[in-house]
């Protein structure tokens, strides 16, 4: 690890001022950043600890739930408002990492964590366009079991590793940002970028912009929602494919539905095409299968991850069937 100094931000304004300075990086729980510093992937000169700012979880006047960016993952999953109103979010967080890591990791840090692409992490031995723009991609033609099947580019096939973000994408969470000019919000599905020819640019945050909170709007699909994660072992592993979904039924018709996929792209993949196909239609196994088929129509898998295309379709259809009362 290269030498680094450590500061604690005393306020959001402090974090904005310090976070935008050359060589400064914001530090949440450190579960990803400290590891990447040790691997030589991240080389900040100054760490600005923001983990003690904005840790509250509270209900706003309009009924939405506002989660401070410094709230620990475990605190969010355990919170009564989240468990009862947004079960897909509690389950997504509990599906991620281990209890130790969930105790450390913050909400803001979870959203801004880096890919677990093995070639990205291998600073000494592998080429990576995300780590060193223009250097090439050794994942192409490499071990691609954990790589993207949607929205990838010749430059980068990495996936976003977060479970929490997949549920937040399905819930249309709003991310509150602070910058030198004030504050703004961005919809969670718009926070992360697809790689294109600039995989080093991962989010829409401007330099020095800080995530302050995540707001869960009231939702008519969240009460009947869940998160299913398919992985190589039953616990403590990254997703091969995951599905966050919520559904509102009017008799046997779907009045509203939200679906997002994890493990398949460089960002949480909001399944807008499947949602549009299902909304207003019947809640049947055939409809679920057809919607999943349509969502994955543009999938461009590699030989090492082609299995994820049928796996994603089946998992999406099974989760929707479960939420509609048919356990599949």
């Amino acid at each position: 690890m290269t030498p680094v100094s450590y500061l604690r931000a005393g306020s959001v304004a402090d974090a904005v001022g310090l976070g935008g300075a050359e060589g400064h990086r914001l530090l949440g729980g450190g579960t990803n950043l400290v590891d990447l510093m040790r691997k030589g992937v991240e080389r900040p000169a100054v760490l600005v600890d923001v983990s003690r700012l904005s840790t509250l979880i509270e209900e706003a006047a309009d009924g939405s739930v506002v989660i401070g960016a410094g709230a620990r993952n475990c605190a969010v999953a355990a919170h009564p408002l989240v468990r009862t109103r947004y079960p897909m979010l509690a389950r997504a967080i509990l599906a991620g990492a281990s209890a130790q890591i969930r105790n450390m990791a913050t909400v803001g840090g979870n959203l801004l964590q880096r890919t677990r692409c093995l070639y990205f992490a291998d600073a000494a031995g592998s080429r990576c366009n995300k780590r060193v723009p223009g250097s090439g991609c050794d994942a192409q033609g490499g071990f691609t079991r954990y790589h993207a099947i949607l929205g990838a580019s010749p430059s980068c096939i990495a996936t976003h590793p977060s479970d929490m973000a997949v549920a937040l994408a399905a819930l249309d969470a709003r991310v509150h940002l602070a910058n030198a000019d004030g504050v703004r919000t961005i919809s969670l599905p718009d926070l992360h970028r697809l790689p294109g020819d600039r995989p080093d640019l991962e989010t829409m945050l401007a330099p020095g912009e800080v995530i302050v909170a995540v707001e869960l709007p009231p939702s008519d699909v969240a009460a009947r929602s869940t998160y299913r994660k398919v992985r190589d072992r039953a616990s403590y592993a990254f997703a091969l494919v995951s599905v966050a979904a919520g559904i509102a039924l009017d008799g046997d018709r779907i009045s509203d539905v939200r679906i997002a996929l994890g493990g398949v792209a460089a960002k949480p993949w909001r399944a807008l095409r499947a949602e549009a196909a299902l909304r207003g239609g019947p809640a049947t196994a055939e409809a679920f299968a057809r919607a999943a088929e349509g969502e994955l129509a543009d999938a461009a898998p590699l030989p090492g991850n082609a299995f994820k295309v049928p796996l994603a379709k089946r998992t999406m259809a099974a989760v929707l069937a479960e939420l509609s009362g048919n356990r599949a």
Binding site: Y6, G30, V34, L94, A99
Partner: protein, 166 residues
């Protein structure tokens, strides 16, 4: 400020790169906490910070400033902890390298269940948490045992949980 370790205040290291794990082992010679993978994958370095289990390998010592750290030496300071005795009785170890992390994790895990914190396998997110082998298995998945003593580890934890309930 200082880091309180097993009840004693320790100054934060000047070098910000020092992990909590390295502070414990290399500077304070509290070698009960083990170095496993040093990258957050195995749980051998688990300690308690303000009563919650965390990975000391991925915690910078500076982040623990003003916090209360408990290691296996602290848990066992007044004779063997109930979990230590149960691990011995139920063969919850072979080589013993992962054991301090397992025991620190298990002690915090029982507190999490007491606090009603759910896990991925908890069916009813709004109800109380029922202790079961499946729950313990899921909640202890962050602590690997290369010797494969997991069944004994779960037996030991279930025995302690049953004793506390009695």
């Amino acid at each position: 400020m200082a880091i309180r370790i097993n009840g004693t205040d320790v100054a934060r290291p000047a070098d910000a790169r020092v992990s909590l794990l390295d502070l414990l082992r290399e500077r304070l010679h509290l070698t009960g906490t083990k170095v496993g993978c040093n990258q957050g994958a195995c749980g051998a370095c688990t300690v308690l910070v303000d009563g919650e289990r965390v990975l000391s390998c991925l915690t910078l010592a500076a982040q623990a400033d003003g916090r209360d750290v408990t290691t296996i030496e602290g848990l066992g300071a007044n004779g063997l902890h109930a979990l230590q005795t149960a691990f011995l009785e139920h063969d919850g170890l072979q080589c013993g390298y992962c054991t301090p992390g397992q025991i620190c994790a298990a002690s915090a895990m029982l507190a999490e269940i007491d606090a009603g914190i759910p896990s991925y396998v908890t069916q009813d997110l709004s109800g109380p948490v029922m202790l079961s082998r499946e729950e313990v298995r899921e909640r202890m998945s962050g602590n690997l045992c290369r010797c494969g003593a997991h069944n004994g580890i779960i037996d030991a934890i279930m025995a302690v949980a049953a004793e506390r309930a009695a």
